[in-house]
């Protein structure tokens, strides 16, 4: 998984913006994007949420959800043992059913990357090839309140340890203060820090922390800003603030990704994270992706779920489809 190279991203940004990505130019551009009507957006998301996905479609959806999960543990109490357990679950989500697909990635703190790489062993690799990536949160996750040097060191260390994907946070304070140039430069610098010695690059997911941006207009601007600065993915949330991924916010980000694709031909990924716990909810996201950007987006390098408890609910639903009765929490493993 190599992201677009920094040079191309910057050149593209200059072409789209028509100038250097400083505060004034970015402000002119981002504030020129059409606004978002909150009522209309939420109404559309609710409408997509009423799709009824049954039988064969449901079976396909459940398997696809599993293969799009970034199985996540982001606790202060994480240990190498906990990460090994998570990796084992990622490799073999349902020990009773070998046909169960693997998840896309395990997502851990930077210092746990070596443990995750170890635990995955030969299965570590590109999820598009049926392997499992290691994603690391970086840049002083979750607050992002640290100097750029520390953020870059955080990123470089995770990449050096074998992380394939970096989940960075934007500086929400700078964004809300209108310092779009600063946010742009930081994302671009982190993108540069994702480069490996051999010239390849870890994929960069940019976390907007939509719960702290509050308005849909802000989310739309932050999405454009992150993509312009070179993000490979835009991600809703850290999962560490009360308001995490919602369907309207994800729909809005998908609309940005669709418009960017129309404008440049480049495909950007979207990752809703935090708060998606049930199969029923996750299916609504699949529907929203398919009906907004097209179902070709439902692949690991273009769409992910950041979740921990979602996997077990999907496994229970999967067992129910196979046996036509519900089992219980003791029939799926804890990780």
């Amino acid at each position: 998984m190599t992201g677009t190279s920094l040079i191309t991203a910057r050149e593209r940004a200059l072409a789209v913006l028509g100038g250097e990505p400083d505060d004034a130019t970015l402000r002119r551009y981002l504030h020129g994007i059409p606004g978002v009507d909150a009522v209309g957006l939420e109404q559309r998301a609710a409408g997509l949420g009423t799709r009824s996905i049954k039988t064969a479609s449901k079976a396909w959806a459940l398997d696809r959800i599993i293969s799009l999960i970034d199985l996540t543990t982001l606790e202060g109490a994480d240990t190498p043992g906990k990460v090994r357990s998570l990796a084992a679950k990622a490799l073999n989500p349902d020990p009773a059913d070998a046909t169960t697909p693997r998840v896309a990635a395990v997502c851990v703190y930077g210092d746990m990357v070596p443990s995750a790489v170890d635990a995955l062993g030969a299965a570590h690799g590109d999820p598009d090839d049926g392997l499992i990536s290691v994603a690391a949160v970086a840049t002083a996750f979750p607050s992002g309140r640290a100097s750029l040097e520390i953020k870059l060191a955080d990123t470089a260390e995770a990449v050096a340890a074998g992380a394939d994907e970096i989940d960075m946070v934007i500086d929400r304070g700078a964004f809300l203060a209108g310092r779009y140039g600063l946010v742009f430069d930081q994302i671009a610098a982190v993108k540069e820090a994702c480069r490996r010695a051999d010239g390849t690059s870890a994929s960069l997911k940019v976390i907007l922390e939509t719960g702290e941006l509050v308005t849909y207009d802000n989310v739309r601007r932050a999405s454009w800003l992150s993509i312009l600065a070179g993000g490979d993915f835009i991600k809703t949330s850290t999962g560490k603030v009360p308001s995490a991924a919602t369907l309207p916010v994800t729909l809005l980000m998908l609309e940005v990704v669709r418009d960017w694709h129309l404008a440049t031909g480049q495909r950007i990924g979207v990752k809703p994270a935090g708060g998606i716990r049930t199969s029923k909810d996750a299916i609504k996201y699949l529907v929203t992706v398919a009906e907004t950007v097209g179902e070709e987006w439902l692949v690991p390098h273009l769409f992910r779920f950041g979740a921990s408890s979602l996997l077990n609910d999907v496994l229970l639903q999967r067992q129910k489809l196979a046996t036509s009765h519900y089992s219980g929490p003791d029939y799926v493993t804890i990780d």
Binding site: D37, I53, S57, R64
Partner: protein
């Protein structure tokens, strides 16, 4: 597999307990009509649903007589509070039987189950709840103290929202103390007859609501009947005009809810993704069988191409098919007659030089269907920009300035509704102020609420339905006699007060 080809998710019809044949609902009972019965069919399959009685002139007279008796003996003497109790009871029964009503509506009308389930039936319940609350508060309806009911109301409703239009008519009439004879549309009588069953369940006094089924001649006999005090009609402008002529010179009060050719105005600063949704909802909701549909899209010339491209992309995702499938967005056209009219006007559009584009959807073999269609390059002089098509056909026109938008929007014999899309609040207010339309939506479209009055200017009719204004259509100010009668109990209560 192709995920977007969602597996079928049909709503089961097992919940329906349909009869082989339905009679007229007169004086609290189902009775056979004296006319030749007719069949109601599902427009999605053309399969027969049930045999429906046909009311002739004598049946209509029976119904009006029953309504008069109920008015004189029961309903006009009942307190507002007690009338309200019946209306609350009806509202709750509609909620309890919501699924059954939604399935019946989609079956008989052809509209998608997601609309009958999420829009029509919940609004029906809301309408009864809303007017139930008014029944004992008529002093505050704006006509002074102790307004009086009009008497027997003759109500004729269309086929596009069969049960919802019934609720719009019956709820305020009963709350105000009138009794009712209602004629549902010929192609969609089913839910009105299930509603009659609900009235029996609610133990509504016999004759307060009577339902006579039949075609245009039944409606004409009802409207012309001399025992009727009030006529309320929703339907085409041609029929509305005939009704206005027919009752001219009589004592009958009348409200008419007729056609429309609404402008949906999209300014270049509109929230574009939501505007696209609003355009789609404005014209393709209920297959465009909506009198207030946003059938003329007025888009600022600078964003015309972008809007049309986005619109086409969005329309390509709409799912046309089985109305009972929970994932269906576009259902069946209600009748062959209506389908023919849509086709005829569309062909005229092409002949006049407009460019036709239809969403690529597979049309089922049986039934009546029309793919969502947009016409670009439409001029204000085109028939498709002037005539109400009443189908899933959108005419796209452009404008350059707000003044031009307003002028074009108002340049129609109709004036039922309009839409404005812009991020600028002051522009919404300024433009809304100049539009000659009864309902104006800003950054939304086709939203209904029982508290909001609805009605038209010019050839879209007169009178208002919904809200306090809708109540006034079924009331008259107290006469001297009423006031004298009302004064007596008031004097009593004053005496009581002085004792305290």
């Amino acid at each position: 597999m192709n995920f977007l080809e969602y597996a079928p998710a049909p709503e089961s019809t097992a919940i329906l307990n349909l009869r082989e044949q339905y009679g007229l609902f007169i004086d609290g009972e189902f009775v056979d009509g004296r006319g030749e019965p007719f069949q109601t069919i599902s427009p999605a399959t053309e399969a027969r649903i049930a045999s429906i009685s046909n009311a002739n002139g004598a049946d209509v007279s029976d119904a009006v007589a029953a309504a008069r008796r109920a008015y004189d003996r029961t309903w006009s003497r009942m307190s507002g509070r007690d009338r309200g109790k019946y209306l609350f009871r009806i509202a709750r029964l509609v909620q309890e039987r919501a699924r059954e009503l939604a399935v019946a509506e989609s079956l008989d009308n052809g509209k998608p189950i997601k609309e009958s389930r999420d829009v029509d039936v919940p609004l029906v319940a809301a309408w009864f709840f809303y007017y139930a609350g008014w029944a004992d508060k008529l002093d505050h309806a704006g006509l002074g103290a102790n307004p009086r009911a009009l008497g027997v109301a003759a109500q004729v409703i269309p086929w596009n929202f069969p049960l919802l239009m019934l609720a719009w008519k019956i709820a305020p009439a009963l709350a105000a103390g009138n009794t009712v004879v209602l004629k549902p549309a010929e192609t969609t009588p089913l839910t009105a007859l299930i509603f009659a069953d609900i009235l029996q369940q609610a133990d509504l006094p016999p004759g307060v609501v009577n339902i006579v089924t039949g075609a245009g001649d039944t409606g004409a006999a009802l409207v012309a009947h001399e025992g009727v005090d009030k006529v309320a009609f929703t339907g085409s402008t041609a029929v509305g005009r005939a009704i206005a002529k027919q009752i001219a010179g009589t004592e009958k009060k009348v409200t008419l809810e007729l056609g429309g050719k609404a402008a949906n105005i999209v300014f270049d600063d509109a929230p574009i993704d939501q505007a696209i949704e609003g355009i789609v909802n404005g014209i393709f909701f209920n297959q465009g069988h909506v009198c207030c549909a946003g059938s003329r899209l007025l888009v600022q010339e600078s964003i015309h191409d972008e809007v049309v491209d986005r619109l086409k992309a969005r329309l390509s995702t709409l799912r046309l098919g089985d109305p009972l499938d929970k994932n269906t967005d576009i259902g069946a056209i209600n009748s062959r007659e209506q389908l023919d009219r849509i086709r005829e006007l569309s062909d005229i559009g092409v002949a006049e030089g407009a460019e036709r584009w239809s969403a690529p959807c597979e049309i089922p073999e049986n039934g009546f269907w029309y793919a969502p269609t947009i016409f670009t390059g439409v001029q204000t002089s085109s028939r498709i920009a002037r005539d109400e098509i009443f189908g899933p056909v959108l005419s796209v026109l452009t404008f350059r300035t707000p003044a031009e938008a307003v002028a074009k929007a108002n340049n129609t014999p109709y004036g039922l509704s309009a839409g404005i899309w812009t991020d600028k609040g002051s522009r919404i207010l300024a433009v809304a102020d100049q539009l000659r339309a009864g309902v104006i939506w800003a950054n939304t479209f086709n939203r209904f609420d029982p508290a909001s009055p609805f009605g038209g200017y010019k050839e879209s009719g007169y009178g208002r339905e919904g809200g306090r204004h809708g109540l006034a259509a079924y009331l008259a100010p107290a006469t001297g006699v009423d006031r004298a009668a009302a004064a007596a109990p008031k004097a009593k209560s004053a005496t009581k007060g002085s004792k305290r």
